[in-house]
């Protein structure tokens, strides 16, 4: 849709990206026949079962969480919106993941979320507050003192950002967005989900300075061990807040590569991955592989 805009992105970033990206992983791997990234797509209706099946395919929870680890999960719970409206990550998914982390013997499970709506209503309406009752997980909106300013060495525009300490200090970081339409960024998937982590002034600065580049910049810094995109239902219009038109792919998308996960998720919205500028920029900057031809998509039923 935004050809002019994308071209200008390419102009400003392509040369530097090429130098930076080609030398680093994982794009170096694509010269061989092996896929650059793997995406597991689980289709089903029982979310905990789907999650278990997907994780098993990735080597089981043991590959990600070891006893005593500090786990941080970044769901998308930003809006005062009900689970069936698709504005937030499904509470069943958040719960299933937290329970798994508990079962693995995680020492601490935190879910810092810089909500857009007042946190109390948001956590309640989203169903996530109730879903986490009785677990050891802590879902909260970070206060000023919970943030730490970090440098983004590879950032082109965003050179620093305020990030919740729990995310910086964890041993296992899990990104758990919901896939939906987004008025500003076209779609919000896993890379964009980090905007729900950073401090408000950074969010605003990113919009001012070039949203897509800043999203890609931040993703060069933040490296989740695991990405789980909730595409059980996807909001096609009026995002990110909604309510908008819904579709029900009944899918969970799992990957260790955020760009690959986003690239696949974009296809659910009938978009080419590189139509979303931050996916293209992430690909170019070496965050991951956004080229569908080089991504191995494994579909399983659960």
């Amino acid at each position: 849709m935004n050809a002019v805009k994308r071209r200008s992105f390419l102009k400003t970033s392509a040369s530097a990206a090429a130098v930076g990206a080609w030398q680093t992983t994982p794009l170096g791997a694509q010269e061989s026949a092996a896929p650059a990234a793997t995406v597991i797509v689980v289709h089903g209706t029982d979310i905990p079962k789907m999650l278990a099946a997907g994780i098993a395919k990735l080597g089981g929870w043991g590959a990600f969480i070891k006893p005593g680890m500090k786990v941080a999960i970044k769901p998308n719970v930003a809006w005062n919106s009900k689970p069936e409206q698709g504005g937030n990550t499904h509470p069943d998914l958040v719960r299933a993941c937290v329970l798994a982390a508990q079962a693995q013997g995680a020492a601490k499970i935190s879910l810092p979320e810089n909500t857009c709506h007042p946190e109390k209503s948001t956590f309640q309406a989203s169903g996530v507050a109730d879903a986490l009752k009785g677990t050891q997980a802590r879902l909260y909106r970070p206060a000023k003192e919970d943030y730490q300013k970090v440098e983004i060495p590879k950032g082109k525009i965003a050179k620093s950002a305020g990030v919740p300490k729990d995310i910086l200090e964890c041993d296992c970081l899990i990104n758990m967005p919901v896939a939906k339409h987004h008025s500003g960024a076209t779609l919000t998937l896993s890379m964009k989900n980090w905007m729900g982590s950073v401090a408000n002034e950074d969010r605003r600065a990113w919009h001012r300075d070039g949203l897509h580049q800043c999203i890609a910049d931040f993703n060069t810094f933040i490296r989740p061990k695991l990405v789980i995109i909730d595409a059980t239902r996807i909001m096609l219009t009026k995002g990110p807040q909604g309510p908008g038109d819904l579709e029900h792919p009944h899918e969970l998308i799992l990957s260790t590569d955020p760009v690959a996960a986003d690239a696949y998720a974009a296809t659910l919205f009938k978009k080419a991955p590189f139509d979303i500028a931050y996916i293209q920029l992430g690909h170019e900057m070496g965050v991951g592989c956004g080229d569908l031809a080089k991504i191995k998509v494994e579909r399983i039923e659960a």
Partner: protein
């Protein structure tokens, strides 16, 4: 030495302080309306003036009946303001007789308030002691600023006055005390009429004398109230006309007439290079939801309840943008008026509307609140990131709960326009607009229209 009476007063004082401070658990917050509501001047006076009574109005009844039998029992045993004033008065025993030559202003004040309330425009309703007490403690919320502390002034003044002239408040100035004094006299009269047995000390005034005074008080209040009402309605009409004119100019907010005209003449207004002023000149203040359309400044007792009730600290006392008679009335300050503010009038919240003892703010249900427009947003294109710099943004659209931002594509990016039929003026757009300075700003409305467009959030 603590007598039982003083112990009771101390306990009540503490209880009322807790109530006014709003530190109670959230489920109890609704009780904050209790203290100011107990004053018939506020609850009944407000209902009388607004010609609309509710359950809250009943709160004022006990203090209307009690003095008939017990005189100023409330003043000497229960009133927290009285307790504070009396305690301070004790610090200056030397001047205890100073008030002897001062007339009981409060009795006149009570009549004036009731008379003017009956005329639809209550005057000096903010002199009520329970309201002043409440205002002082309601101001102690975070973040405390000079502005939010404005409603605390009356309490301090009373204590100062009590220090200089002991007991001057309770015995001479207090309108609630004055009202109860009248009622006590009435009670005595009624009892005297029934039988000589229940006689108390005869009042200084003859029956005719007292009757004349009461009539004069009411009449004075009524006439002044009517006069003010006339001017107030005129002012409201002028504000409404101003707003309408602004809307017709496609701005939705009041800008200087001169500049508007010039812009229009030079055709700059809706083109790309517009020199939209977007300053704060002639900006209409935003009232909390449920605000009475006319007579708000008169109805509002400045008790500070709505300000303390707002979970987001959006409501601040006005310092003159609503006229001299609007001093310290509640207005909403979104981010363009208060840099620290990152919240907006959340669609699920009706806290302030439930906290008003006088009916200046009518209680609204969530559904009604979501249909009520307290303001209207305006995009200043020359500041807007999307319009001016062609950057991806429309954060305003992201945040708008009412889908009131229309997106139009320009230069490959979506650009925002406000849909006046859907905008409720909640300030969500303004709360996170990344432009410097803020490119989307909410302007108040002279009246709060109920919009036909159904809220998407219901």
């Amino acid at each position: 030495m603590m007598t039982r009476r003083n112990l009771l007063r101390l306990v009540l004082f503490a209880a009322f302080v807790l109530l006014a401070l709003g530190v109670l658990p959230e489920a109890w917050r609704g009780w904050s309306v209790l203290l100011p509501g107990l004053s018939p001047l506020l609850s009944l006076g407000g209902a009388l003036a607004a010609r609309s009574a509710g359950l809250l109005t009943l709160l004022g009844l006990p203090l209307l009946v009690l003095p008939l039998f017990k005189g100023r029992y409330f003043c000497w045993r229960l009133c927290p303001m009285g307790f504070a004033a009396e305690t301070v008065s004790r610090l200056n025993r030397r001047n205890a007789g100073l008030i002897r030559r001062v007339p009981f202003v409060g009795k006149g004040l009570a009549l004036l308030i009731i008379g003017s309330a009956a005329a639809g425009w209550p005057l000096l309703i903010w002199t009520d002691p329970l309201c002043i007490f409440n205002g002082f403690f309601a101001a102690w919320r975070s973040p405390l600023t000079w502005l939010s502390a404005a409603t605390a002034g009356g309490f301090v003044l009373i204590l100062l006055a009590s220090l200089i002239a002991p007991n001057i408040w309770c015995h001479r100035l207090c309108p609630l005390g004055g009202l109860q004094e009248w009622l006590a006299q009435l009670g005595n009269r009624l009892r005297a009429a029934r039988g000589p047995a229940a006689q108390e000390a005869p009042t200084a005034l003859s029956r005719a004398h007292a009757g004349r005074r009461v009539f004069l008080g009411f009449a004075l209040g009524g006439v002044t109230g009517l006069l003010y009402r006339r001017f107030g309605l005129q002012a409201a009409a002028a504000a409404a006309a101003h707003e309408t004119a602004a809307c017709e100019r496609g701005q939705g907010r009041g800008l200087g007439q001169g500049r508007q005209r010039r812009e229009r003449a030079s055709g700059e207004q809706d083109t790309g290079g517009h020199a939209c002023s977007c300053g704060t000149e002639h900006r209409l203040a935003i009232r909390p939801p449920g605000a009475a359309a006319t007579g708000f400044n008169a109805l509002c007792a400045r008790c500070g309840n709505c300000m303390a009730a707002c979970p987001y600290g959006l409501i601040l006392p006005d310092l003159g943008t609503t006229g001299v008679d609007g001093l310290f009335t509640p207005v909403l300050a979104f981010r363009s008026l208060n840099e620290q503010q990152e919240q907006f009038c959340f669609q699920e919240c009706t806290a302030c509307t439930q906290a008003c003892p006088t009916g200046a703010l009518r209680p609204l249900a969530v559904a009604r609140k979501q249909q009520t427009a307290i303001g209207l947003a305006h995009v200043c294109k020359s500041r807007c990131i999307a319009w001016e710099k062609h950057e991806y943004c429309v954060v305003c659209q992201e945040y708008c709960p009412y889908h009131a931002i229309i997106e139009v594509e320009r230069n490959g990016v979506m650009c925002p326009i406000v849909d006046a039929d859907k905008c409720r003026g909640c300030g969500a757009c303004e709360s996170q607009c990344p432009a410097l300075p803020i490119a989307i700003v909410v302007n108040g409305r002279a009246r709060q229209p109920v919009l036909a467009h159904p809220s998407p959030q219901l």
